[in-house]
């Protein structure tokens, strides 16, 4: 058993870190968050030149064919850089959905351009109840047409195709199709835009059955959790640096235990979060019997811990932490958006309870 990264995984992580530091410094994040969509075509083509837009997809569709562990390492670095725009919605969620659900023909048509960096996509799941439970999806396609509303759809304005979860299947809708209305929702996270999408007799192409959503959704959940780990790590690094340099009472504030212990707890939470995410990624990649539980464990822990790290980081910065100028709130906003996306801690604790308390065969023994 070996729970560390191998050489090629370390290489991927290090080169992603360098890439994001060069191409997506925080000044660029701030510039993009003032734009309409937080999307930048240049940055996007650089992401695809790196092969990131096809990272986990089969080579026959122009992908790189790496695994979920590698995806998670990339997302961690993206989270550290607070990468704005539709990478998560296009590659991670919509891409995995197409990959695991669509026919070969459909994949050639839709997944391949995503891999090549030519197209963008997103997934529309939530309805007005704001629930991530499949049982709360009511939208239904009739005669190949959709009527209704989806909310909290990330990056819909820059997507070429919107993949829609409906009662009777997962459908693909062209974002320029007749009867579609895309309107911005004003969320806390300025680096990843949310939209409402209205359908009025909108033509939709069926990709597959709704049950097929489980795996791509699990992949998206773990990848999002990994992105959150990156944000936590960055928040911790910024905070420790500040605690070493900011002086009060003639001493660096990091000398005061009330401050030092906040930092120690941030470290504990960040490392624990990373363990949970790496394991879930590995378990998904290898179809381990406890993979479903591992995904929920990761997301429930991350949902609470990323907020907690943000809280502590801001507190340690004092008034400076409360300013617009400080980068902490940018991470804090992303953390809140990610906390609820794909189910918050309460949601995943209930899901884990169903897997462990209600199912007689407790999967822990096997884990």
């Amino acid at each position: 058993m070996q729970f560390g990264l191998n050489e090629s995984q370390e290489f991927l992580r290090d080169s992603a870190r360098k890439f994001f530091a060069a191409e997506c410094p925080i000044a660029e994040v701030r510039r993009l968050m003032e734009t309409d969509t937080a999307f930048d075509a240049d940055l996007w083509s650089k992401l695809s030149e790196q092969g990131y837009t096809g990272i986990i997809f089969p080579e026959e569709f122009g992908g790189v064919g790496l695994g979920i562990v590698e995806l998670v390492l990339l997302m961690e670095e993206a989270g550290r850089a607070l990468l704005p725009g539709p990478f998560f919605s296009t590659v991670v969620f919509a891409g995995s959905l197409l990959d695991s659900l669509a026919t070969k023909e459909q994949r050639r048509k839709y997944l391949a351009p995503i891999c090549r960096g030519e197209a963008r996509s997103t997934v529309a799941f939530c309805e007005p109840q704001g629930s991530w439970d499949l049982a709360d999806v009511h939208l239904t396609a009739t005669n190949g047409k959709l009527n209704g509303e989806k909310l909290f759809v990330p990056d819909a304005a820059v997507a070429d195709w919107i993949l829609v979860a409906a009662r009777n299947g997962v459908f693909l809708v062209d974002s320029k199709a007749p009867g579609i209305g895309i309107e911005r929702m004003h969320g806390m996270d300025l680096t990843r835009r949310l939209y409402s999408v209205q359908f009025e007799g909108t033509p939709a192409e069926k990709l597959g059955e709704i049950a097929g959503l489980a795996r791509p959704r699990a992949i998206a959940t773990v990848a999002l959790a990994a992105e959150m780990v990156g944000g936590m790590q960055r928040t911790l690094d910024i905070t420790v640096e500040y605690a070493k340099t900011r002086k009060q009472f003639g001493k660096p504030i990091g000398m005061f235990q009330a401050v030092q212990h906040q930092c120690a707890d941030m470290y504990l939470e960040t490392e624990s979060a990373r363990s949970a995410v790496y394991y879930a990624a590995w378990a998904l990649q290898h179809n381990a019997p406890d993979a479903a539980a591992a995904v929920s464990i990761a997301k429930l822990y991350l949902s609470d811990a990323s907020r907690s790290v943000g809280n502590r980081g801001i507190q340690v910065h004092g008034g400076m932490g409360f300013t617009w100028e400080s980068d902490l709130h940018l991470y804090y906003r992303r953390a809140k958006a990610s906390e609820t996306a794909l189910g918050d801690a309460t949601f995943h604790r209930e899901r884990l309870a169903r897997l462990t308390i209600d199912a007689r065969a407790v999967s822990a023994e096997k884990a």
Partner: protein, 395 residues
């Protein structure tokens, strides 16, 4: 990253499992709740049996009677022990902390003299570190040892010494040079607890038992051959013992915590709340799931730490994360048990209505000690702050 067991790990597990199934005592349940004083001979006998099978100290090098087991194999060992509800071993500190320190720092003669009897539980060891005025600030300890020809003469007092009442030998940290800064004047002595001038008094703990003791030393003569490591280098020797205490101990606890949370889940299906099983109570479900997740994360943190240590060759201050995590998690787990059991949670082993023979009332009280023993949570946070994150020392 590959979290499957390697063929070597599978072989190790299967071999130990087969041995354990054939040899684990079947009557441990009858002994478990008896006072340690009564069950101690039983635990010694069990350790001897493990030793005869070559399983008492799997982590030790082969030449000292171990199996040179990797950290992963050690984790597997404790998992199997817990799975079959095997009794603990009598010489826990000797095997886990003090033996490895003697192997690292001892002379050949010391290893030959002490190691076999640690393995066979013929000689039980205790750890004489803490003093009334030196707990967290261990290096401030005052027990002194003055050189007198071929001997050190020891005077002073130790406290909170687990296994002191049954200890044959003690890893004792003493001050040999009071004129130098506090970390530089310490030495570790291996002390025969039957020496004239050693007096052990029981200390009653909040659980009611007397697991630890205070020990008084009055002109106790210790031969210079029994200095462990170099004179005045005792701090490094002691820290090596503490690293073992903080680093690998978690691996022993993980399967126990797993068993406890699984047992709570099982109980939640039987206990009634508002006319339905507690397992259906939405609040308790949330708490059980949270606890289940944290126990799993403790396991994953441990495995990651083991992989890191295997790669770098040395346990680092990250052991403090494990210590901090398991001790605070156990307190949350025990509180959850109390919440679920309601008024039954308080019942002691002596009450026939106690759930699981009083395991949960005992566990609740005992868990308060977790964040104090082996370095308090505050000290672990100081260690993380200073040694891991590089923040300036707070004191």
């Amino acid at each position: 990253m590959d979290l499957n067991l390697t063929p070597g790990e599978v072989a190790f597990r299967d071999e130990f499992r087969a041995w354990l199934e054939a040899n684990v005592p079947k009557d441990w349940a009858e002994w478990r709740e008896k006072p340690l004083e009564e069950s101690f001979p039983y635990l010694r006998a069990w350790q001897r049996k493990l030793q005869e099978g070559g399983w008492a100290a799997v982590s030790w090098p082969k030449e000292y009677g171990g199996r040179g087991a990797t950290l992963m194999q050690q984790a597997i060992f404790w998992e199997e022990m817990a799975r079959l509800e095997a009794p603990p071993m009598a010489n826990a500190l000797g095997l886990g902390l003090i033996g490895p320190t003697i192997i690292a720092y001892g002379t050949d003669a010391q290893k030959k003299r002490f190691i076999p009897k640690i393995l066979s539980a013929q000689e039980i060891w205790c750890q004489g570190f803490s003093e009334p005025n030196a707990g967290s600030d261990l290096a401030a300890l005052q027990t002194e040892a003055r050189r007198d020809n071929g001997y050190y003469v020891v005077n002073g007092q130790k406290v909170w010494t687990s296994y002191g009442w049954v200890g044959d030998w003690c890893e004792l940290v003493v001050r040999t040079d009071p004129t130098v800064p506090k970390h530089k004047g310490l030495t570790v002595l291996l002390v025969d607890m039957k020496s004239p001038g050693v007096e052990v008094r029981p200390l009653r703990q909040m659980t009611g038992e007397s697991e630890f003791n205070e020990i008084f030393f009055r002109d106790v003569r210790v031969a210079v051959e029994n200095v462990l490591g170099k004179v005045n280098d005792g701090w490094n020797v002691a820290v090596s013992t503490l690293m073992h205490e903080r680093g690998a101990y978690g691996a022993r606890l993980i399967p126990i915590f797993k068993r406890n949370i699984n047992r709570l889940i099982e109980l939640s299906r039987k206990i009634q709340r508002h006319g339905q099983p507690a397992a259906q109570d939405p609040v308790l479900r949330q708490k059980l799931a949270q606890c289940y997740a944290e126990v799993e994360i403790m396991r994953l943190n441990q495995l990651r730490a083991f992989s890191r240590i295997t790669a770098t060759g040395a346990p680092g201050p990250e052991g403090s994360i494990q210590k901090l995590f398991w001790s605070e998690l156990n307190q949350r787990l025990q509180q959850l048990a109390q919440e679920m059991l309601g008024p039954y949670g308080q019942l002691l082993a002596s009450d026939p209505r106690a759930v699981d023979q009083g395991l949960w009332s005992y566990g609740y009280l005992r868990s308060r000690g977790n964040t104090i023993e082996a370095g308090t949570s505050e000290i672990q946070r100081n260690i993380i702050g200073h040694f891991v994150l590089g923040l300036p020392r707070s004191y």
